[in-house]
Symmetry: C2
Subunit: 325 residues, 2 copies
Amino acid sequence: MTTITDIALALGITPSTVSRALAGNPRVKEKTRLAVEKKAAEMGYERNIVASNLRKGRSNIVGIVVPRVRREFFANFIGGAEDVLASAGYNVIICQSQESLDSEIKALKALKNYRAAGVIISHSIESKDGNHIREIMGDLPIVQFDRVFPDLPGAKVVGANCDGAYQATMHLLKKGYKRIGTIAGYMSCMAFVERLAGYRMALEDAGINYDERLVYPDSILYETGKESARKAIADGCDALYCCGDYAALGAMDAAREAGLHIPEEMGIVGTANEFWADIMTPSLSSLGQHPFDMGQAAAHAFLDGRTGTEIIPMELHARQSSNKH
Amino acid sequence: MTTITDIALALGITPSTVSRALAGNPRVKEKTRLAVEKKAAEMGYERNIVASNLRKGRSNIVGIVVPRVRREFFANFIGGAEDVLASAGYNVIICQSQESLDSEIKALKALKNYRAAGVIISHSIESKDGNHIREIMGDLPIVQFDRVFPDLPGAKVVGANCDGAYQATMHLLKKGYKRIGTIAGYMSCMAFVERLAGYRMALEDAGINYDERLVYPDSILYETGKESARKAIADGCDALYCCGDYAALGAMDAAREAGLHIPEEMGIVGTANEFWADIMTPSLSSLGQHPFDMGQAAAHAFLDGRTGTEIIPMELHARQSSNKH
DNA sequence: CTGTTAGCGCGTTCAA
DNA sequence: TTGAACGCGCTAACAG
């Protein structure tokens, strides 16, 4: 591994000059700079980032903390963010919180310890507020997305959850479903709270009383979605707006097991528009987010030091599971 | 940020002793160690990993380089590897090559530059051999998985590709399909080469001539799978073993567009057993790998400094798409 | 058992 | 425009 000292020695100058030349410092003579660059290339020099980071007290690492990488949504988000950040010269560390507060804290501490330049995060379900994030990261830039704590300052990128859920519920209403429940998420996450709000708003706009008993919360997985759907069926629901596609899948299976025909006797709309929503039978109507765009937006928010909230539209993909005649 | 010097000052000892105490060096008096630990906790000390890494010339970072995070297989692999590595005190950096050699090289260089302790990699399709990996990583431990270069020394974790493809093809034969083609992958990847070998072996064991014209390579995506399947249909195939589930999905759509009934007129088996294989209609028969186990195995291989090749079994999930009567 | 000394490689003063 | 000197925070070798 060649160092700036090696280059300096080979050129009969000092490491300081080499450092400056390589940093593009304008106070170094054109000629020396070229000589240094040439020599560096020749010797296969690459800056020791660890040393550089130590000296500067910061790094070009950006941490992305998500509940899990394997969710379509997060994976695509990461794809979008990585593109933008990589071309801006940042290295991305991806951390999974596995929906656990402990893991989230551990990941943040590791990032802080690596002197990350900032963090892009969608918090775990166990996280009740953003205090731990702020405490650990200090005044480093924090970009929140999807699941955000409104009181935590900094940039935010969110889907139009309320509007989307409104669309989805209104769609079910227009299709003629009468008793529409919702398989909801965790009320500790803004995103889910807003989806519930959109659901409620649609009902009320249609002159239907919002009935809390038809809200089945804490269900974002297949299993919990299925269980909640069983209750909803017992409660006489003929349609369900689900806050996630996995929960929606559980709901479909619950309906089938109860002998209900989809979409005639049970209409279902999910959220996330996972890849498989389109290929299953009956295909699953779902509220699509734009995770890739969100990733890009979050990266730009970080790079530009923006602090506002950016709202990315969501759109309904109406398919068979809600296509009542 | 408190440093070991702060602690030393507060305790009237030297930084070296603090460093040793914190490192659990047995040559430090029990009493001092306890005092140091207490003070450190009191002052909220956390070791500056960057400085530590610089000094030691290595870090506790392990890089995982995969084509893309969003593939079920890789996401699950990462999950398995991360579990094991995290509890061994390593931090994981996940890098995506996006199937591009350039990105792969960039990622490896970044890892090397961060003085990673090692790398766990499944190479991109563009990579023709492992020379760049070895050159960049020097003598750092390299664990290859799934797509491996046999000539590159170091540990390897692979699925039983040949055996699996054999099972899959034999299954199609037993179901009574007559003209079985294969939507194959890239011959630059061992994994795909072996699947092709297994396919061939099954045919020959059944007394059927292996016909190169029924091998449609370079098709692992939906689009390429579909296109290849169109050719296969034109060539009179009545079944296809596909090296990937996305390609298999493309093949199913090609068959439907050609008016062929699945599984009666066209049998299809995919590979990877993606989540959605089970829920689509007709459900997709698929060769399951055990990505989570593979991740754990790869992590252990790294931790134990093992160098052999570990083979993880694959198993056929026979479903509707190949269920001819 | 602990202190002293000496860097890891780089970037940033301050001088010249 | 360049050099000299220093230190980021930590660890390791060598003494004692």
